[in-house]
Symmetry: C2
Subunit: 491 residues, 2 copies
């Protein structure tokens, strides 16, 4: 029997949970707010990680690893950072357990109290900049272009698998530069790396821009970001790239001798994406039958299911099926051959549909007789009998076409949910009904932004980089505005 999932129309949140669980992506663990990333979900993350890692290396970055623990006092060194960050976090206070004298397992040994508490990193700017102090002396040591793949912990009260969890996996780039201009250039470059990755690998079109002051990263002078639109009209921040100016260099006293032999503070950036991207992937492409994956990130791109009733039928089929399998594998396609006898073909079809395998090839005795196969596309849910001739070329072409089609559909979906609004009534109506990206004039004040959020839960997702200058009036206050910003409710 196929697993049941709630339809999107009925309950979008439950649909999401059903997909995550039934496709075997992740589940809640015994530890509050921490998830278990299951093999199939982790395989998607590995594909993302490898693709991003290559992009980071191609742009001159190297990986390193910094401690998971940060001394509590480090957070106080950069004033706005501590305000914006370190409050909800996991705090290590002791380092030893002992046997309970009453015989109830183990208890904390109070003699092992740490002099200074350690924080499980929520992000690593502080520990990394305390390290960079020793690595940077001269302009010859710059730029320093380092990335870290790591787990981080933020003690979130309301968690959702992938979208918001206490522990999550991510990468965090931390770079150091000679000049403001070079650091800004790096910040923008990495935003573009993220945008290209979203588009080319995840088949998700994104908006690029900068955050308003109130949405900025704690300690940043400017936060660049990419924002994606989900099927339910809510936005999802898919990646951020921060220009940190000299804030962390000053907090940790990181200076370098410039070419004129003068000491100057170093300029910094940081940028990151996380396992949250898997949430974006699900909510962009999937449907009421289950997960839909772009071929570029699918752990299984093609599944082959031989259809047989008796053992001798299977035997006859396998040579034919194996030749297809080998051919595809040789061509670099990630292909799975499922000839297990535990489950019926129908059950298998439903399972692979649930798992979002882009292409299914089914082969029964009659297909073999006709030198053909049945090919089913996950994105369009269409089936077709096609000839065995040049099958590999056809599969390769379909991979490209499915990837293209998913991006096209996601773009249409996003564009259909993007509109200009000019009055407060329009704004409220749109937010209350279909949601989406609302391009509206804003007077530029944190006060107005706060009131809009209070009344509608919509926030400024970004100020688009390419927004044309346009005279207008703030949708809320009526005060003059020079360009539209993008509002939405967000995950």
């Amino acid at each position: 029997m196929a697993k049941k999932i709630t339809s999107r129309k009925e309950n979008y949140s439950q649909w999401y949970i059903d997909i995550v669980q039934n496709a075997g992506l992740a589940e809640n663990s015994a530890v509050r707010g921490c998830m278990v990333i299951k093999p199939y979900g982790y395989a998607i993350w590995e594909k993302m990680r490898d693709a991003l890692d290559k992009k980071f290396k191609d742009t001159g970055h190297t990986n390193a690893y910094f401690p998971i623990f940060i001394p509590k006092s480090f957070f106080s060194k950069e004033a706005s950072h501590v305000e914006g960050f370190a409050k909800e976090c996991a705090i290590v206070t002791h380092y030893r357990l002992k046997n309970d004298p009453n015989g109830n397992g183990v208890i904390v040994d109070e003699d092992s109290k740490l002099e200074e508490e350690l924080i499980v990193r929520p992000t690593s700017e502080t520990i990394i900049w305390s390290t960079y102090k020793n690595w940077i002396q001269s302009y010859r040591d710059l730029p320093l272009l380092i990335n870290q793949w790591a787990n981080v912990v933020r003690w979130e009260m309301r968690t959702r698998l992938f979208l918001r969890t206490a522990e999550f996996l991510w990468q965090e780039g931390h770079t150091a530069h000679e000049t403001r201009e070079e650091a800004i250039e790096e910040t923008v470059k990495m935003m573009n790396v993220y945008a290209d990755f979203a588009q080319d690998w995840m088949a998700i079109p994104v908006l690029k821009g900068v955050k308003s002051e109130s949405e900025r990263f704690a300690g940043a002078e400017e936060t660049y970001c990419i924002e994606a639109m989900m099927q339910d009209g809510k936005a999802l921040q898919a990646g951020t790239s921060h220009f940190l100016a000299q804030n962390f260099a000053k907090a940790f006293d990181v200076q370098y001798l410039n070419k004129e032999n003068k000491l100057e503070y170093v300029w910094a950036t940081s940028w990151g994406v996380s396992t949250r991207l898997i949430g974006a992937l699900i909510m962009t492409h999937s449907d009421d039958n289950g997960l839909v994956l772009p071929p570029a990130l699918a752990p299984i791109q093609v599944v082959i299911v031989p259809i047989f009733r008796k053992a001798e039928q299977k035997e006859a089929l396998m040579e034919y099926v194996n030749s297809i399998y080998s051919e595809l594998k040789k061509a670099g396609v990630t292909v799975k051959l499922d000839d297990s006898e535990h489950f019926s073909p129908g059950y298998k079809f439903a399972e692979y549909e649930m798992q979002g395998v882009p292409l299914r090839i089914a082969v029964g005795p009659r297909d073999m007789e006709n030198n053909a196969v049945e090919m089913a596309r996950r994105d369009t849910l269409t089936k077709e009998i096609i000839s065995r001739e040049n099958l590999t070329e056809k599969v390769l072409a379909l991979m490209v076409d499915i990837q293209r089609n998913l991006l096209e559909n996601a773009s249409k979906m996003r564009d259909g949910m993007s509109k200009k609004v000019d009055t407060w009534n329009e704004f409220k109506e749109a937010i209350d009904n279909e949601g989406g990206f609302l391009y509206a004039h804003w007077d530029g004040t944190t006060e107005t932004e706060g009131k809009i959020k209070e009344e509608t839960k919509a926030t400024i997702r970004l100020i688009p980089l390419d927004a044309p200058e346009e005279e207008g009036k703030c949708v809320y206050s009526g005060k003059p505005s020079k360009r539209r910003v993008v509002f939405a409710k967000a995950y």
Copy 2:
């Protein structure tokens, strides 16, 4: 100026530290016992990880990710596990900081005390088996072959970069099986995967065997291991693979319906290697000039250094040098071209020697005129002028030869430090002087093992799998023994 390192003869421990620091592999961090793995050290780890990951996948395993935190009570569920393990560990007791009312940064918010403390994983058997309970119902769910790449924390009092640190990176495989036999087969298989990796990638020959009872993993019925010999006569445990019998299945009540429709407890294994391997790599091959790396794991396999005095000399050289660079790159060699003008060729030579780059190609104007290059091998410290003709083929052949030579040298070193000892005097003298692997008879009792350790610091590294039966007398107690075991002092 080249960095100075202490000679091995003078002070082996200091030599090790000098190599780690001067080759840019790792350093101590602001957090007690936690290291920063620097880009060059991390690049070696990435190569190890990729090679191992492929071996795991080729043997049917998939990756997943489990929470970093483990509820304290989990450790008490498997009796011997809590005895052997969870005592020295990082304990999370609170989840919120607040501003100090006295204005001194942030303090722990006492209102955020956790009901149950969380332990930062020292190893993940408990959290994983609590999860497997939901994943395993029937024999159809078995075997379950999962690996995790993760950071773990053990609150070590005396730490050494890579060899013993509070936090380290590792992989931990956790598999579940229908039968005892199948689980043992898996345990042995993974020990062999580790041994092959050590030999073929790290160029380190290892002994294979099982641990004595007192050295066994807490919760295991049998611990298989690989042991390597370092240059200073001390052994290093390079990987372990545990047969856990049904201990964790019973502790977490993981049962499956077998083919006869009867409930049975699941059989388990776990196996791991860590960043400690980098310590083994250093102490096996390196010399008084710095790090020596096998080509299979070298982040830079070949460095090309053009030698020029004036700008026009450089210009003339670069075409020649670039053609070599492109050719090598195309052939799949990881090659770096260092034409920077900040540093002299002599400085560069010393740096790349320190970093253990297997092959250095230097090209000056005269080499170019002669259609030649100067080639220097890091392993033998020999230099040779060779013709530009078929250079890539020569380089590829040298990579193979250097890898072979390092393994051969390490094997000779190890064999030279392995011997049979039959009397207690011989034993003590060998341990006090040259160290090494001592093959000696042992009466099989934990008591004798303990006394030997007390008197000499030597432990039983392993009971070799292929040890022939041989009548003898225990080197310590004189009681009868059926075969020799391997003693050594160890890291």
